[in-house]
């Protein structure tokens, strides 16, 4: 734990700290109000807008959870499989691009990174027709296939640059010890690339978790909706039941909150590396 002494505010910092505290209050105020409201019944809410009021309505949480859990599970499954697939495919592809010379390598790699220039809006409509013709509409495949291929562009590039940055001596040592290429990949390269794999996983998690438009056009069944889309459905189903609505909002923020708490550094690096493909 931190020693309390360390967090004392120096005189020089005081004016800046005051501005920051004000800024922090404004930032968190809407969130706090959402939490407060999530513990009220509608009568309490209309009677007293601002302050928490007893008794707390924990029942809001259980009724919201009965609806929301389904969407959370779906999102975990969809984003989880997307992350696994991207991590596997991108590390192999990145490794091949980083460590070997072969004919058409440059052309193939250009085929990857040129796509960074292609925005999602351009491909949205034709991609929907394609996925529909493949019979994937209203299946998890519609989401996962498109999220994986979209994420591969950036991930392969990131993995390639990471593998290129590893010192040649490491590989030489493994080859001298008689390791086959497959072993070098699994026992040397992948363990070393763990930080970059974590970054790739986070980038993928954040973008797939928050994607609203693509599920909106491809998924129709309530049971199959991922969280972002499910929340939209939820908010229209519970339009005026404020307590339950906001309890649902709080519940649905918990998964990313946990990831953030456990892996803050990777979360932030995943965020920044996603900026290259905006």
């Amino acid at each position: 734990m931190f020693k309390r002494k360390r967090l004392r505010i120096a005189n020089h910092d005081l004016p800046f700290q005051m501005v920051l505290v004000a800024f922090g209050i404004v930032t968190f105020f809407p969130l706090v109000l959402v939490v407060i409201t999530s513990l009220k019944s509608n009568t309490q809410f209309y009677h007293n807008f601002w302050l928490p009021e007893l008794p707390f309505q924990f029942g809001n949480y259980s009724s919201a959870f009965r609806i929301i859990w389904r969407y959370i599970v779906n999102s975990v499954l969809y984003s989880g499989s997307t992350i696994c697939l991207i991590a596997c495919i991108a590390s192999v592809a990145g490794y091949v691009f980083a460590r070997f010379h072969f004919p058409f390598k440059t052309a193939l790699f250009l085929g990857f990174i040129t796509l960074i220039m292609v925005p999602g809006v351009l491909t949205l409509a034709p991609r929907f027709v394609l996925v529909r013709d493949l019979g994937l509409v209203n299946t998890p495949g519609a989401l996962i296939s498109v999220w994986v291929s979209g994420g591969l562009v950036l991930s392969t590039w990131l993995m390639r640059s990471y593998f290129e940055s590893l010192p040649q001596e490491l590989f030489d040592a493994a080859y001298v010890d008689g390791a086959a290429e497959r072993q070098v990949f699994f026992y040397v390269s992948v363990p070393l690339a763990r930080p970059m794999i974590a970054t790739v996983a986070m980038t993928t998690l954040i973008s797939s978790w928050n994607d609203l438009i693509w599920p909106l056009v491809t998924i129709t069944d309530k049971d199959k909706m991922p969280l972002a889309m499910g929340l939209m459905q939820f908010s229209s189903d519970f339009e005026t039941d404020w307590g339950t609505l906001f309890a649902g909002y709080v519940i649905s923020s918990i998964p990313l909150l946990c990831v953030f708490a456990v892996a803050m550094r990777q979360f932030i690096s995943g965020l920044t590396s996603g900026s290259i493909k905006a």
Partner: protein, 315 residues
């Protein structure tokens, strides 16, 4: 054997390799192609194919199914005379202009406050605190702000009543005159995470000595801000601005969730019009044409972005 990349450009082997004939070299690398088969196939099917389909079908009238005939550049001409599209472009330009200023000034302000702190530990915690709203799913940002603007029980109207400004309460999203302003302020006090991290990163790389010597020369807060901090983070500021432009041009979930372009089409933007043309009116050709126009605009921005970001995110 597979040919490995050596850090030292070893001559002998590679020269002999490159002299052997292409089919032989392709055959030797066959396992590498197998390894790349899945990603290449996926990108061809789900990325390249739709991209070319968009370019191609922007010249056709197409309902996404059987109806499909050539009309040349008619969709592009239609855009010029389409009133909705004109409103959409005007809205987008105003919106982007406002957001770029807000999404740069706000994080710069917060970052400037943070780097002025002497305590490294506090700087770290403030950074975490301001990144925190990122864990709220994007859609919830919009839903929460929809609540803030709610005409009956919204936070904004209740706040106005609380300080006695009952006359100013308003249906913020329901009035064509206020809707774009309301949308421009969505997420307002929350920092755009990415832009904040980029600018903060830039400010933190300014060497301590520069600030110290400025202090010795008697430069106060404002002089330092205008003569050191802003000039020295020009790259990061530019990057933050371009990123905001790119996000705002292509992302329309904000508009879709908050107003769906309404009332009327007073909060329409091109990307939302693309979505509606395709999925409400089944005009996939017209939607593709709008996509192509947006693509060209964003291509220019992306090229600048790649140039700038090469330097600015490395810290």
């Amino acid at each position: 054997m597979l040919r490995r990349l050596a850090t030292s450009p070893s001559v002998g082997a590679s020269k002999r390799e490159s002299q052997s004939r292409l089919p032989i070299r392709v055959w030797r690398a066959k396992w590498l192609y197998v390894a790349l088969l899945i990603p290449v196939a996926m990108l061809l099917i789900f990325e390249w194919l739709p991209a070319f389909s968009a370019l191609y079908n922007s010249l056709y009238i197409w309902n996404g199914g059987k109806v499909h005939f050539y009309v040349g550049l008619e969709h592009y001409e239609r855009m010029l005379s389409d009133r909705t599209f004109r409103v959409a472009i005007t809205n987008l330009l105003g919106f982007v202009f406002f957001r770029v200023i807000m999404q740069t000034a706000l994080p710069f302000f917060a970052a400037e406050m943070i780097i002025n702190l002497r305590s490294a530990r506090w700087s770290y915690w403030w950074k975490i605190i301001f990144v925190f709203p990122m864990v709220v799913p994007t859609i919830l940002n919009y839903l929460i702000w929809r609540f803030i603007y709610n005409p009956q029980v919204g936070l904004l109207n209740e706040g106005l009543k609380l300080i006695g400004l009952d006359d100013y309460t308003h249906a913020w999203l329901g009035d064509p005159n206020t809707v774009m302003w309301a949308l421009a302020f969505v997420r307002f006090p929350w920092l755009p995470t990415l832009q904040f991290l980029i600018i903060l990163g830039g400010l933190q790389t300014i060497p301590q000595e520069v600030h110290e010597s400025a202090a010795i020369d008697g430069a106060g807060f404002w002089r330092r801000l205008f003569y050191i901090d802003i000039p020295m983070t020009k790259r990061q500021i530019t990057l933050a601005m371009i990123l905001t432009m790119l996000f705002m041009t292509q992302r329309f979930d904000l508009f879709l969730v908050m107003t769906d372009g309404g009332p009327g089409y007073s909060s329409m933007v091109p990307a939302l019009q693309l979505y509606q043309s395709a999925f409400h009116f089944l005009e996939f050709g017209y939607a593709s044409a709008i996509g192509v126009v947006l693509f060209v605009a964003m291509l220019a921005l992306t090229i600048i972005n790649l140039r700038v970001s090469a330097g600015a995110t490395s810290n």
